[in-house]
Symmetry: C2
Subunit: 211 residues, 2 copies
DNA sequence: TAGATTGTTAATCGATTAACAATC
DNA sequence: TAGATTGTTAATCGATTAACAATC
């Protein structure tokens, strides 16, 4: 794997985990680490650590290891966490509120700029630092602000309609909490799905099949 | 792959998705489906569908296909969704509440029997059908009810302490929303992690690397 | 220099896809 | 019976691990 080749999703999905462990090491004032030690802490093989990192560049130094601070910074850049992508949240229900209030978007590459809901009762209420807006104002708001992504915390049946509107105004990156299969129907989109119920069913399977 | 061999996690994690699509087909009163058509709908290969299903048994009929209703039922049993595993939720914050209120646990193999929080202000408040209990009553409650799993919606720093208590009373199956690495430190546990922030960073990476 | 540890190539392992004989 | 589609084996592809020469 040489730089420039496209990176496999297996590697990409491991990056946030490297980033987290490196941040922790940095907080503990560890300043250098070898692939062997990092692998131990993270419960993976040293080979995998070196292979993964070398997809993006030679960040280490033979005979020494990796500088924790530098490596953390490199991964931060690879992930693009400094982008401050402008995002809007649709759906201020249970999950929408939890997401809005709980996550530190800034540190994750995003800035949450607005929340929308179609329930009149929710419109105008405060959600963290934001005021819930009426979903009818979606297009107007987005024409005023350059929005990069939408977090969809609405029920499956509402998704298609909302998606048509978002897609039309050029918002094509989604964080999707519903079971609506976005990428199948909307081309040129980037979708990350959160399927909590699939996850819970998997737990059920594994409990059911404990040896 | 013959029945009895242990199933790979890749296959296991696809089961809930099969289950969802089959449920939908069944709701639409479709009563038979071929691996080819199911594969089309789900955007996978027909080979994969047949290989996956045949890990568990020969549920189809040559020249005909699969009975939707029967296949759905089979996967329901494989996943163990009729178990009604008794679960408790720890942490009635943003995510804990959303989880408690939003998910239909019964259909996912669980029954949520209690919620705990250590914040006195939350104790006694209503969370869906449950009343939030003081976390100090954890052991007492669990000694009275046979609890199978715990949903951990508490911050990383609280996890270790709570986990010690749960582990001691024999609760070893966890749905973990924190970044605390449970399986590394607690043996003989089954853990499914929900790492929302990793997921969001992955979205960031992919936006950042759009070709 | 000697020791350590990377970057990278080669070997292995596992997962996905293709092919087709079995059979409804 | 002929057509369709499974169950299953074999081929391919990709991801992980091992090994080691390069080098700090």
């Amino acid at each position: 794997m040489s730089k420039g080749d496209s990176i496999s999703m297996s590697v990409i999905r491991r990056l946030p985990r490297y980033y987290r462990f490196l941040s922790e090491l940095n907080d503990q004032n560890v300043d250098k680490i070898s692939s062997t030690k990092l692998a131990q802490i993270m419960n993976v093989t040293a080979s995998q650590v070196r292979q993964d990192l070398n997809c993006f560049g030679g960040f280490g130094q033979q005979g020494y290891g990796y500088s924790v601070k530098q490596l953390q910074k490199e991964i931060e850049n690879i992930l693009g966490l400094n982008n401050n992508y402008k995002a809007i949240l649709i759906g201020a229900g249970n999950f929408g509120s939890a997401v809005a209030k709980h996550l530190d978007f800034k540190r994750l590459g995003f800035e949450l700029t607005a929340c929308f809901d179609k329930d009149e009762a929710k419109v105008g209420t405060q959600l963290g630092k934001l005021k819930v807006q009426n979903e009818t104002e979606l297009e107007l708001f987005c024409s005023k602000h350059k929005i990069d992504a939408a977090f969809l915390c609405i029920p499956k049946l509402s998704v298609e309609n909302t998606l048509n509107r978002l897609y039309k105004i050029g918002i094509k990156n989604y964080w999707n909490f519903s079971h609506f299969d976005i990428s199948a129907k909307y081309k040129d989109t980037i979708v990350e799905n959160v399927h909590l119920s699939d996850n819970l069913m998997t737990l059920c399977y594994r409990m059911n099949n404990r040896k």
